[in-house]
Symmetry: D2
Subunit: 343 residues, 4 copies
Amino acid sequence: MIVVMDLQAPEREIQAVEDVLQEYGYSCHLIRGEKRLVIGAVGSAGSEIPPALETMPGVEKVMRVLQPYKLVSREMKPDDSVVTAGSLRLGGGTVAVIAGPCAVESQDQLRATAHAVKAQQAAALRGGAFKPRTSPYAFQGLMAEGLAYLHEISAETGLPVVTEVINPADVEMVAATADIVQIGARNMQNYPLLKEVGQLRKPVLLKRGLSATVEEWLMAAEYIMAAGNYQVILCERGIRTFETATRNTLDVSAIALAKQLTHLPVIADPSHAGGHWRLVKPLALASLAAGADGLLVEVHPDPARALCDGKQSLTPEHFVELMAAVKAILPALGKTLCTGSGQ
Amino acid sequence: MIVVMDLQAPEREIQAVEDVLQEYGYSCHLIRGEKRLVIGAVGSAGSEIPPALETMPGVEKVMRVLQPYKLVSREMKPDDSVVTAGSLRLGGGTVAVIAGPCAVESQDQLRATAHAVKAQQAAALRGGAFKPRTSPYAFQGLMAEGLAYLHEISAETGLPVVTEVINPADVEMVAATADIVQIGARNMQNYPLLKEVGQLRKPVLLKRGLSATVEEWLMAAEYIMAAGNYQVILCERGIRTFETATRNTLDVSAIALAKQLTHLPVIADPSHAGGHWRLVKPLALASLAAGADGLLVEVHPDPARALCDGKQSLTPEHFVELMAAVKAILPALGKTLCTGSGQ
Amino acid sequence: MIVVMDLQAPEREIQAVEDVLQEYGYSCHLIRGEKRLVIGAVGSAGSEIPPALETMPGVEKVMRVLQPYKLVSREMKPDDSVVTAGSLRLGGGTVAVIAGPCAVESQDQLRATAHAVKAQQAAALRGGAFKPRTSPYAFQGLMAEGLAYLHEISAETGLPVVTEVINPADVEMVAATADIVQIGARNMQNYPLLKEVGQLRKPVLLKRGLSATVEEWLMAAEYIMAAGNYQVILCERGIRTFETATRNTLDVSAIALAKQLTHLPVIADPSHAGGHWRLVKPLALASLAAGADGLLVEVHPDPARALCDGKQSLTPEHFVELMAAVKAILPALGKTLCTGSGQ
Amino acid sequence: MIVVMDLQAPEREIQAVEDVLQEYGYSCHLIRGEKRLVIGAVGSAGSEIPPALETMPGVEKVMRVLQPYKLVSREMKPDDSVVTAGSLRLGGGTVAVIAGPCAVESQDQLRATAHAVKAQQAAALRGGAFKPRTSPYAFQGLMAEGLAYLHEISAETGLPVVTEVINPADVEMVAATADIVQIGARNMQNYPLLKEVGQLRKPVLLKRGLSATVEEWLMAAEYIMAAGNYQVILCERGIRTFETATRNTLDVSAIALAKQLTHLPVIADPSHAGGHWRLVKPLALASLAAGADGLLVEVHPDPARALCDGKQSLTPEHFVELMAAVKAILPALGKTLCTGSGQ
């Protein structure tokens, strides 16, 4: 840690800062420049950061030298982590495509979609039973009934299930059906929920928050890992910017950067990122080219009658096109497709 | 609702759109321009919005005519709502200042702060017992112990308590102590939590999310009101922008705009907005000048040793200065200060 | 154009709005809903938008039906435009890579870089002679001397030159050397400069502004085309967002969207977008996968001693790797590489 | 400057970094922590920053200790600078209101507005003769004719003139009429223009760019001062964020912060910030409460027929209200109003 102080700071202010640093286990190195005094504070493994150093008289700013995350860091574990769930395998050179409707609406809708995406070698089935919606008057999901359909269609198709949980109290119930439990963008910093899924011993798909920095996203993954669950998949789904022509702004740099900073697999959700089905294919390919280990894609048999996010859903026909393009690009990227349930 | 279609759209595509609109209870008015075909869709009170109109062939865009919120709207209730809690009164021309530490750290720290802010006519005491922190390794709050201190010091000083809840399962416990239950910025779209506090019959202080639009903020309030709890206080606390010189960007326009759009009281949190104690006074005054009905301010007896947000906390001495400035500006704004517990 | 009015608006207010609309050549269609009155205004080809309709009593909002750009629109010209400059060809399925140093620093530096990038089949040489720098104390470019080196090395290598102009007064001088004149991100809305390069009859490479929407970017291109110069290349180079881990946020959705909205070729600058050489390759591939027609890449023989943007410059060795990856991915995207001066 | 290196970096990499630092006049202090090696580099007055230190092997990041601006800094000049132009005085406790139309449209329009704002003690007249417009088809200003009207009406009313220049070639012509030359938000980083107005010896009003950080804004002012013109007024006019309910987001924190970092006067433009006349009064008061030394306000006799920005223009009647509110709040802020031409 570096503490920058006013060169005019009297000796007792410097001493007070050094005292606090020593209280927290740091040793101090003073460097006097022409305009500022810099204290280089060297900590040991256990030393915490003194919370409010910047409020002390004479202190101008405090700069951190180390990253705040540990378990998610590639420094900690240089090799790629691979996440598996049933027949799905993701990371370490294997790309998996997870597809399905935004929301489970009925048994028929889910079954039709599941068979359609399985035929194209999707590796898992997505579908929300609990839907976080901006309006209290919008469809909130089929809940337990939705989970039952997911369970049934998963058994029928052999596709592992990815579904979202939004309430810590529901984690156990959702995890009974889900092969991969999803934390949505709005809940990336819902810490009681993160701690709860940290108790699970099955994979968690953690979406990046709308306005979360890459560092905050990794810290959210650190919450889950710190609770003992090491199977985390990161998912970039677009961030909120000034641009209104697309629903969000897909941040492919975050994919590339996360792949450098962490050993965890990183996937992309091109459906929410662009917000329009015409953008799904280019954004999916861009994500893979940036280094993504997988895709999470919305597919619906009749988007115009979808109860949620129809605008960004692919039809089964569009999904055929997407998968063809994915299969064409992977060899050039040195990756292979997880063909899921073996088709 | 306005549906813009391609002028070249064949008759059957137009018909299909009209069919869906009629299914949802709209009557249609066609206007043919030189380059586009516009359908004006007139609904009745109960008509929902067809979710995925924009995916239909021939449709270019869909534009909403009405606001999506109802109960929070000033159209619904033209007069200012006033929220009261014990001796606190806020809204309708009365300004209240809520002050206290970021986190409850000990009985002594809370007591010292409470007496200091009460002496300056703060109307309520704030203090977090459950702290949502970016790092799993940071102090997470005293929890039940913190609530007990709040209860005790509130009884001692007569100051109503504002404290945050972060888990739907804790709402009942927190509400047993809190006079006003706070929903933090990270939880603005935590819908299970909003529904749960909607069951309460005591005021909820709803912070705006870091990257929530004014409309989304009002929709979050709509969740609480739709569940039957009409006592909502909106709190602007700064949004996330590209600017890094301040912790967040205080959006005073949102305060002014919210006062036009809704009857609910709107307050500001200048501590989190600026992220530095030197900015608290100017941001507090700016918020009031923009129309805010109150302030939420962090005060700590020894900011350099605060376990949380020390950098942005006022000392009791700085709080004296702040209150003097607030008292000086209110008459010019035609507002009066709620002197809380009667001092 | 759609004008939304208060249902309570008295007849004379409605009449006043209709009068203004008719003054501007619109015919009006009134639709009365349950809560609002909507006026559908149909214009003819020449009709301007009445500038301040939204200020009129009774008017709540005004919504535009048509895009504001014309010449750049794909509606106007459905086929891809192809831009050529010497041996460079870009657009319509052909991808070109433009490479070179951020700034021309010396004849030797430029010559070494030019030969290195030519050997890898870069299609053109980039290099700035006039540098817009945040600090007045930073290196501002070699100016006329830099142009002379570009001229000389271009003759020597056969590589066409891309170089930036920042002052309308210098357009003629810069265009004497440049085969493609570049408008930088900071000047995207420098209208005197856009009008001046609109007078040229050689290609203009127009970078997207740091905080420009896709629509504003296309409107800036419209300025150049409206002045008579139809050879415009759009260049996405990252936008400014809250994320600080990368210099900017590469907006691949904007590439995909621009390809849908306009016939002009669109390229990407992965060097400025990521701000770090390690991100250049993934961002370059992501841009191509999203549909980009080319790349603008910074290469420097000794980045650590570069006078400008060394951190994001590739060494010649890294450039070899980049080009190998580009050549590998293009066939899967159905594109071919412009091999420039024939190598 | 602080250079953070990998603890594993071999001696020759450390030596190479030290060599570059010494080349640039720094002395080096090494601090070895448990995970990183930190080099504290102490420079002397003249030492430049080595441009590409971060590209060197073993280097992880480089952190700046000092601010990059000098002449604008309050460290350089602790007292407030006061800018005067004719009867206008701004800064150091005196607040001035500059008002007038967005664009000069006709002699009559300008005269009517000028007399109206003068009657309310505006200290200067604003009005654009050269208008930077998003669309090439929109009204671009009356240019020389507009300047002539400004000259005439200024002589008639005694009000000093504030008007914008957008082309370096026009600076001399504009400065012949303007008492204060304005640089618009889109030109904040138009360096040829900044250098040109730096040659003037009359005040420059420098608007903050839409997506400029406070530091970049101050660096733009540094350009003007480095060229010898010390009379700079900073103007906050709202930044671009994700919020679309207002035209821009007025950043009052930037006003408060700029007042701490620089001695230059800081004013606000509430008209462009909010984009709607109903927001002008609350945003104006908020700006003053945050510490602004003045206001720049758009007033138009007939906003519905304004050729530019009518939606955000006050009528003369609304301006009366605004000035009454300004006069009411200033004493509470310890400021006095510049009554301009003596009325």
